[in-house]
Amino acid sequence: MLNTKARAIRLVELVLLGSAAALFIVGTYLGDTFFLRLATESLIFGGLALSVDLLLGVVGLLSLGQALYFGFGAYLSALILKELASSFALAILIVTIASAILGWVASFIALRSKGVYFALITFGLAQVAAKVVYNTRSLGASDGMMGVPILQIWTPFGLIDTSHPGIFFLICLLTISILYGILKYFLSTPTGSLWLAIQSNENRLAYIGYKSKGPKQVAFILAAVVAAVSGALYPMLRGFVSPELMFFSVSGNAVVTVVLGGVGTLIGPILGSVLLTSFKSVIGTWTSHHHIVIGLIFVAIVISAPKGLIGLIVTRMNKVDAKKEEGKHE
């Protein structure tokens, strides 16, 4: 079962990476914009879902306010690009540091509680932040901020600008892959084991010599950074930010994405985001009530595959293995 899960994750990683490469090549060749930008958007929201999965699927903390950090990253990035300098590296660097500090401060508030109370506190924090931004004139209030300039990114191959959908897609792919790689690395360390132990039986931890607070705080800060860096990419894609980015719909959507893809798998949320973002766009062209359709799909998935899409793949793989095993014996 465990090995199958690892195999399923590896498979999905490869399929996603292969699809991304194919999309980049074909899209660039055909001069496509729509699909490349759609894929970029699903990567950005995939990063947000990734941060939710770190908390929910690994540590066992349901955050209903992860959009706070996503929105924070988006606004800060927009501000830096507009007011400070049109530099990708500078924006990502400042957002990383600032969100780590924000996450550290917020962790003292949120980690005082567990379970439902943790969910409500994260929800509350995000609502407060969203209201503050919504009412702050210097941040554009309810209109948000527009006119984020197109970026010039320095690479060893010369300056490239983000208005090229293929190039920007690659940049986002690289950024989200690095975030994914960092989380995977942490999962391969004893800290990752402690996270899983906290999810399984937090009270036991004290009797093997650890306070659960430390590892939880590390996870919370990491999740804040992953969400914020993903958010920082948003204004680069869209050219604007709005307070809606901090609203509950964004946080809630991220949780739905995680559940759809497979809780605790990390790659599941990315897959979930790709599918959900595509669905939304495709269904959105047929009907303006796409939320209803998405809701129905979500209900269907939760009932038929409670472990998400990755869970479905694992079940499928197990069946194939069992058949192979049978074939051997015959």
Binding site: S188, P190, S193, A197, S200
Partner: protein
């Protein structure tokens, strides 16, 4: 016997009240190094509360706990672990969603320097080695990759003791380790506890009086929150107070 150096764990006048109920009332015990010492008593005698006070799960209202002469009364459970004390639980308390190996590995992680927390698992060689030792010692090799939650009750109880031993404590508190075990498993566990007692101090709470009498060098008897008697198993058996409170007509 009165040599202070041979005493590893000492409780002085420990009391704990829950509302109007005095669960533990001015209990003093001294546990000598090595071998098995047991606390017995009828249900509701305050054994488990006493255990929770000794292990740092509860803070006492009065009294003090010393490990090797060091006052640990206000120390957290994880703090006490570093003083060499570890405990198991009456109700199996494992990381049920993790494999047997992961349970043991995580429990052994404290043996590693703290910096290893952020390095790949393979770098934590001491913990890995310790986990493998325990797998073998407790006969859990075949269940290595099974989820702890999927083990049989007897295996879970064994794993519970193994996890508690992971950090090589010098003082081991076992809360009814054979609870709910089959006869065969109970005997195996008794042998195991005896073996552990050769180089570790074991403090045991047990319902199974025969098991206790067989294993222990010293027995404390509790009833209604107080210490009723203490002594060797033979002495305790003969004590009329104990017979009245605990053994009933069986031994009288």
């Amino acid at each position: 016997m009165n040599n202070a150096h041979s005493i590893i764990l000492e409780a002085k006048g420990l009391s704990k009240r829950f509302g109007g109920l005095i669960a533990v009332d001015e209990v003093s015990i001294a546990v000598q190094k090595l071998g098995v010492t047991s606390i017995i008593g009828p249900n509701g005698a305050g054994k488990s509360t006493l255990f929770n006070l000794l292990s740092g799960t509860f803070l006492p209202d009065n009294g003090a706990v010393h490990i090797d002469g060091v006052d640990v009364t206000r120390l957290s459970p994880e703090g006490r672990l570093f003083c060499g004390m570890a405990r198991s639980f009456q109700i199996t308390n494992l990381f049920f969603d993790l494999t047997v190996m992961d349970n043991l590995r995580i429990a052994s992680q404290v043996l590693e320097p703290r910096s290893h927390l952020y390095l790949p698992l393979g770098k934590s060689e001491i913990a890995l080695k310790r986990a493998n030792e325990l797998l073998e010692e407790f006969g859990l090799e075949e269940s290595r990759d099974q989820l702890a939650g999927a083990l049989s009750h007897g295996q879970q109880r064994r794993l519970e003791i193994a996890v508690t031993l992971a950090t090589k404590p010098k003082l081991l508190l076992l809360d009814e380790p054979t609870q709910g075990m089959s006869q065969v498993d109970t005997h195996e566990t008794a042998d195991l506890i005896k073996r552990v007692g050769l180089n570790t101090t074991v403090l045991l709470i047990e319902h199974d009086v025969d098991l206790v009498m067989d294993l222990s060098k010293t027995v404390f008897v509790m009833a209604q929150g107080r210490k009723l008697a203490e002594g060797t198993p033979a002495e305790v058996r003969k004590n009329p107070l104990v017979q009245a409170a605990y053994f009933g007509e069986e031994l009288a």
